[in-house]
C-alpha cells in the first residue's frame, strides 16, 4: 500500500482553502456540496426533533402555535430544497458520474463550481429567512395565505429556493451533456451503469420542471409586493392555479429525489449479489418512464381543492400508471438477488432497508391516488408517513447506503464494518418506530401541521417521538464512526468490495484526472461473471471489507 499512499490524488493535490473554494475538480465540488447539504440535514433534523418534543403532549407544551408552524416549515424547506433534491445528484452524482463514464471531469467544470456557489447563496437566503423570523406557510407555500396573509419571511425563503433551483438546472444540464458527449470508447448506452441512467432521467426532470416552480414562486413574490391578482381571489386571481403550477414541478421533484436513490440501489444490489441486474434494459428505461409519467400526475395532490372531479379522475388513473415502472425496478432488484451469492455488508443492509421501506411508501401512494380514500386521509399524518417512507425510508437510506458503498473510493479510508451494520439496524428500527405509528394516527384522523390534538392520539405520538430519538442516535453514531474513519481508518484498496464499474479501476481516492490513461470499456455493466472486471490491488497486509 505504501506505493499507493505516495500517489497524488484529488485530496492531497493542493491543501489551501482557495484550492478547494475555486476547484474545478468535480470530486472536490462534490465534497463541498456534501458539507453544505449535511449542514442543512442537521438543521432540518434539529427542527424535527424540536417539534417532535412538542408533540409529546396533547396540549401546547414547550412552544406556541406560531413557533410550531415555523419549525415544520423550516424542516420541510431545508430537507426538501436544500438536502434531498441536491443530495445524491450533487454529491454522489457529481463525484461518480464522470468516473463511471471514464471521463476526466464533467462537460462544464466551471458551471459545476458556479452551481455550488449559486446553491450556497440560495441556501444562505433560506437560512436568513429562518434567522429573521422564519416562515409559517409550510414548505408548499399555498396561496392566498403565502401571497397575501402570511406575515413571515416568505419572500426571502422563496428567493432562496428560486436561486437554488438554478443550481439544480446547472447540474442537470451538465449531467446530460456529459452523458451524451463524454462516454469512454466502448461505453455504449446499454453498457452504462444504472446509476448513470437514473441520473440522466433525473436531469431531464430537473431541466423541464425546475423553471416552472421558479416562476411560480416568483409570481407569489410579485403578488405580495405589487398586489397583482394572480392567486388571490380578492384581486381576481385563483389560489388553485398556484397548486397546479407548484405541483407540476413538486410532484416530479419527488422523482428528482428518489430516482438517483434507485440508481444507487441498483449498483449496491448488483455488487453484493455478484450478479447482473435482472432485466437491465427494462430497469434503465423504467427510469425514463418514471421521469416522463411523473409529469402527468400532479393533480392527485389537489383532490380536495376545488379541482374538477373529472380532472381528478384523469390524475388518479395517471397516478396509478407511475406505479408500474417503480414496481418493475423493485421486482427486478428482488429477481437479481434470487440465486445470487448475497453478502450482507453495510451498503447492502441499507439497500435491503430501502427495498422494504420504499415498498410500503410506494404502495401507500396508491391508496392516496385513489380519490375516495384520499378524501379520508388527505392532509393527515397518513400522508406524512407515506412521503417519509419514500423520502427518508427510500431516499435517505439510499443516500447513506451510497455514501458507505463509495466511502472507500471518496476518502481512501475504510469504515468500521460492524459499527456500520449496527447503525443500519438502529436507523431501520428508529425509522419504523417514528413513522409507522403516523400511518395509524393519520388514518384515525390526526391532521398534519397541528400541535394540539385529542388525548387518545398521545400514545402514538409518544412512540413517534421515541422513534425519532432512536433515529437521531443512529445518525449521530454514523457521524462519529465516519469521522473516526476519516482520521484513523485503515487505508482502502482500489476495490475493497470487489465491485464492477470504472470507478473501481482507479485508485482510492482517485487522482485529480481520474484515470492515468483513458479507459476502454470491453464489458457490459455488472459483468460479475468476468473476473477481469472486479480485480482488486489489495496487498496481503491491507484490511479489506471482504
Amino acid at each position: 500500500m505504501s506505493a499507493q499512499a505516495k500517489q497524488e490524488n484529488y485530496l492531497n493535490a493542493k491543501h489551501t482553502v482557495a484550492s478547494w473554494l475555486f476547484s474545478l475538480d468535480h470530486k472536490r465540488i462534490a465534497l463541498l456540496y456534501l458539507l453544505t447539504i449535511l449542514l442543512f440535514f442537521v438543521l432540518g433534523g434539529i427542527a424535527a426533533m424540536l417539534f417532535r418534543v412538542e408533540l409529546l403532549t396533547p396540549g401546547p407544551a414547550v412552544m406556541e402555535s406560531e413557533t410550531y408552524n415555523r419549525l415544520f416549515t423550516m424542516h420541510g424547506i431545508t430537507m426538501i430544497f436544500f438536502f434531498l433534491i441536491p443530495s445524491i445528484p450533487a454529491v454522489l452524482g457529481n463525484f461518480l458520474l464522470p468516473i463511471m463514464l471514464g471521463a476526466k471531469d464533467l462537460a462544464f467544470p466551471r458551471l459545476n463550481l458556479a452551481s455550488w456557489y449559486v446553491f450556497t447563496f440560495g441556501g444562505l437566503l433560506g437560512l436568513g429567512a429562518i434567522i429573521f423570523g422564519g416562515v409559517d406557510t409550510g414548505w408548499t407555500f399555498y396561496t392566498p395565505y403565502s401571497s397575501t396573509y402570511a406575515n413571515s419571511q416568505v419572500i426571502l425563503a422563496a428567493l432562496g429556493i428560486f436561486i437554488a433551483g438554478f443550481a439544480s438546472i446547472m447540474t442537470g444540464l451538465n449531467f446530460i451533456v456529459t452523458i451524451h458527449k463524454m462516454r469512454a470508447p466502448g461505453l455504449t448506452w446499454f453498457r452504462l451503469p444504472l446509476f448513470v441512467w437514473s441520473h440522466y432521467a433525473t436531469s431531464i426532470i430537473i431541466i423541464l420542471g425546475t423553471p416552472v416552480v421558479a416562476i411560480t414562486i416568483l409570481l407569489v413574490a410579485i403578488e405580495r409586493i405589487f398586489e397583482v391578482g394572480i392567486f388571490d381571489p380578492a384581486l381576481g386571481g385563483d389560489p388553485v392555479l398556484f397548486q397546479h403550477l407548484f405541483w407540476f414541478y413538486s410532484h416530479p421533484a419527488v422523482y428528482i429525489m428518489i430516482l438517483p436513490g434507485m440508481g444507487v440501489i441498483s449498483e449496491i444490489i448488483a455488487c453484493f449479489s455478484r450478479k447482473r441486474i435482472f432485466g437491465y434494459p427494462v430497469v434503465a428505461l423504467s427510469s425514463l418512464a418514471i421521469a416522463i409519467l411523473g409529469f402527468f400526475v400532479w393533480g392527485h395532490h389537489m383532490f380536495v381543492s376545488s379541482q374538477s372531479m373529472y380532472a381528478g379522475m384523469i390524475f388518479s388513473i395517471l397516478s396509478f400508471l407511475v406505479a408500474i415502472p417503480s414496481a418493475i425496478k423493485v421486482f427486478n432488484w428482488v429477481a437479481t438477488m434470487y440465486g445470487g451469492s448475497v453478502k450482507l455488508d453495510t451498503p447492502m443492509l441499507y439497500a435491503l432497508g430501502f427495498l422494504g421501506l420504499f415498498i410500503i411508501g410506494g404502495l401507500t401512494g396508491l391508496f392516496l391516488a385513489t380519490m375516495a380514500v384520499n378524501v379520508h386521509v388527505h392532509d393527515t399524518y397518513f400522508v406524512v408517513a407515506h412521503f417519509h417512507y419514500v423520502m427518508v425510508g427510500g431516499m435517505v437510506m439510499a443516500f447513506f447506503g451510497g455514501l458507505h458503498f463509495w466511502w472507500p473510493k471518496i476518502t481512501g479510508k475504510l469504515f468500521p464494518e460492524l459499527l456500520g451494520r449496527i447503525t443500519v439496524v438502529i436507523i431501520f428500527i428508529g425509522f419504523n418506530l417514528t413513522f409507522f405509528p403516523q400511518f395509524i394516527v393519520g388514518y384515525l384522523g390526526m391532521p398534519r401541521r397541528y400541535h394540539i390534538y385529542p388525548e387518545e392520539f398521545q400514545f402514538l405520538h409518544v412512540l413517534s417521538t421515541a422513534g425519532a430519538s432512536v433515529l437521531a442516535i443512529g445518525y449521530m453514531l454514523m457521524a462519529v464512526y465516519l469521522l473516526y474513519s476519516l482520521v484513523l481508518g485503515p487505508k482502502a484498496s482500489r476495490n475493497p468490495w470487489k465491485a464492477a464499474g470504472l470507478e473501481w479501476t482507479t485508485p482510492s481516492p482517485p487522482p485529480t484526472h481520474n484515470f492515468s490513461e483513458p479507459p476502454v470499456v470491453k464489458f457490459e455493466a455488472y459483468a460479475y461473471d468476468e473476473e477481469e472486471v472486479y480485480q482488486d490491488d489489495a496487498e496481503p497486509g491491507d484490511k479489506g471489507h471482504g
Binding site: 423541464l208 416552472v212 397546479h244 409529469f295 393533480g299 376545488s306 379541482q307 374538477s308 372531479m309 373529472y310
Partner: protein, 104 residues
C-alpha cells in the same frame, strides 16, 4: 451554431420580417380582445402567443439553423409547456360540469 460548429448569421431582412410578424400578431391580439368570443377567448389568445413564441424560438433563438439535438431539446420544452397547460385547463374547463351541492 450549425451542425458544423460555425455560427449561422441570418440576413438582416429575416430579422426585420420576424419583427414585422411579431408586431402584426401583437396588433391582432389587441384587436381580438375587443370581440367577445366566449370560451374561445383564451384559446385564440394562447394560439397567437404560441405562434409568436414559435417564431422567436425558430429565428431569434436560431433553433432553425441548429443541430437536431437542439430541435429535440426545444421541442421537449414546448411539449412540456403544452402538457402543463392542457392538464391545468382540463380542470378549469370541467369545473362547472357538476352542480354545486346545496347548503345544509
Amino acid at each position: 451554431m450549425s451542425e458544423h460548429g460555425q455560427p449561422h448569421i441570418a440576413p438582416l431582412k429575416t430579422y426585420l420580417n420576424v419583427f414585422a410578424a411579431l408586431m402584426a400578431l401583437t396588433v391582432l391580439t389587441v384587436g381580438v380582445a375587443y370581440f367577445d368570443l366566449g370560451a374561445m377567448n383564451i384559446l385564440v389568445a394562447v394560439t397567437i402567443a404560441c405562434i409568436k413564441a414559435y417564431i422567436v424560438i425558430l429565428y431569434f433563438m436560431h433553433v432553425k439553423y441548429s443541430a437536431r439535438i437542439i430541435w429535440l431539446t426545444a421541442a421537449a420544452g414546448f411539449i412540456w409547456f403544452v402538457l402543463m397547460f392542457a392538464l391545468t385547463l382540463a380542470d378549469y374547463a370541467t369545473r362547472g360540469w357538476l352542480p354545486f351541492p346545496e347548503a345544509w
